[in-house]
Amino acid sequence: MIRKLLRVTMIVGLVGVVGGLGGADVLQARQDDKEDRDQENGQGKLPPQTLRSGFESTDQLLRDVERAEKAPLYSAWIVESSRFMFVPFGGFQPDKAGLNTTVNLPVNVGIIEGPDGKITLYDTGWKQLAYIFDWNTSCCWKGIRDQMHAIGLDPDKVTQIVLGHAHWDHAGQLSEFPDAVAYIQKEELKQIDFFLNYPVDFNAGHIRAVNTVDPMTGAQVGPPAQACARTPVCGYPPQTIQEILGKVLHGKAKIVDGRHEITPGLVIHPAFRGHTYGSQLLQVNTARGQLVFGSDTYSSWTGIRDWLVANIQQTDTIQQFLAYEKCYVLTSRLNSFNNCVSAHEPIAYTAAYPLTANWWNIPNGNCSRAAELILAPGKTTHVPASPDRTLCVNLNAPPHTVSP
C-alpha cells in the first residue's frame, strides 16, 4: 500500500514538473491584467476578454432588480414598425436551417410609459421607405407617430429614446422626435468608426468594410457566401448615422458607456456583441416583474427560451447567450424568460409568445400590429373593445415611385 502511494506521488510530481517546463502558465490570465481588472472592478470578478464597461455580475444585476422593485411601475406596449417577409428560417436561426421554410419577422418598437405620463421608446423602427416598397421585400410599414396616435398614445410625450442598437431598421425614425433624448452606447459608435477603416478587400475579400454585394444582382461578391458577409458596417447607412449626429449636435444625445440608470425602474444594461458591438438592453419595472427589452440581441424569444442563437450579425454567440442570461437573472423573481422582449420573434402577436398575446391590428396601420404587454395599476387598457386580430399581410404596399 505504501509502495503504491509512493508510486502515485512520484507520477503526480513528474507530471507537475513537465507541465511547468511546458509553460502551463499560458492558461492563466497575466498577473498585471488581473490586477488591472481588480482595480477597475473593485472585486476582481471581471473575466478576461470582456470589455470592462460591458460586464455585469449576477450580484450587480440582482441589485438592480432590488432597486427597481422600489421604483414606480411602468406600462409597456410594442408596435410593429414593419415586417420582413419570407425570410429563410435558417438565415434567421441557424439551428432551424433544416426546416427549409420561411418566416415573417416583425420589427418591434417598445413603448414605455412612466407614472408621469412621459414616454420612453426602445428603438424607433424603419425610415427607409424606398428600401421597403420598391421591390416589395417587406410589408406593413407605418410611421411610428401615426401608430402611437392610432393606439391612443401621444407621440409628443416621448422624452427619451433608447437605441438597442443603431441598425437602420431600429434607429430609423429618430428625427421624428426632435426633443427626445437618445441613449446610445459609445461602443456602438466607436466600432462602426473602427471598421470603416478596414481595407475594402482585406483577407482576399473574406472580410470587407461595406457593400459586399453585386450592386445589380444582389449576389455576394467574393468568397463569403452570406448577405453582407456579416461585415461590421453594412447595417448602418449614412442616413441613420446622420440622424444620430443630429441628436448629438443638438444636445439631445447621451452617449453611455455600459450600465446606466435613466430613472429609477428604467435601467440600460450593456449587451456588447450580443448583436452589434454596442448593443444595449432596457430593464423596465412593471407589475409583472422586470421586463427586459433586447432589440436584436433578443431577436428571437424562442431562441432565449430554447437557448438558440438568432440573427447573427456582429454577434459573438457567447455574448448573445450571456445577454440571454442577463434576462434570466433580471426576470428571476417573476415570469423568467417570459419577460424578455424580442425584436423579431416570428410568433410575436400570438398566444404562443404569451407576453404579446394581447395584440390587435393597428387601425389604419397598413397591417402593422400592436400588443399591450402590461399596464401600471389604475391605467386603462388601450386594446380596442373588439380588437381586429385577423392576420393581415399587406403586399399591396402604399404607392411609391419606382424608377426605372
Binding site: 420598391d134 453585386d214 449614412p238 449626429l245 426605372p404
Partner: protein
Amino acid sequence: MSTAGVGLQRWMTPRLAILGVVSLGLVGVVTFAMSRAVTGPSTVASPRPSPQPSRPALDPAEEAYMRAMWPIHGDVERSLMRMSLGQILYKTDDLSRAELKTRIEQALVAYRGAETRIRALSPPTSLRSDHEQYLAAVRLFQESAAEAIKMFKDGRDEHLLAAYPKSQEGSDKIREVGGKFWPNEFPPN
C-alpha cells in the same frame, strides 16, 4: 416490516435495482425526446413566398450607368460616415480637433472627386433625374464640409450645427437613389 415488504426486499436484488433505475432513465429520456418532437417550438406556418414583383428589366445603358455609379457611391458613403462619426466622437472627446480637421478635409476632397467622376458619366434619359439628385447630394456634402471646416479658422464649433442640415438632406437623397439603384445594399438586419 410487513410480509409484503419482506417479499419486496428479497425480490429487489442490487443488480435488479440498478437495472430498474437505468431502464427508468432511458424511458424518461425517450419520453422527453418524443414530447420535444411533438410540441417543439411552434412557429407560424408561413406560406411559401408568393411571386414578388421584381425590378423592371434594365436596358444595357441603365445597367452600365448604375455599375459605374456603384464605386463612387461607396466612396461618398465612406467619406460621409467618417465625417459624421468624426463629429460625434469629437463631441464625446474621443477624437481630437486635429483629427476631425483631417477627416473633414479628406471628405471634402472625396466629395469633389465624386462630383467630377459623376459629371463624367452620361446617364440614360430614364436615369437623368436620379443622376441630378445624386449630384445635388454631393454638392450638399461639399457645402456641409466647407461650412464645418470654418470651425478650425474661427474656433467656433457652431459651424458643425450649421453644416448639419445639408449633410442630412444629402444623406436622405443618396439613400433614396441608392434604394432604387441597389436595393440589396442594406439587407435585413
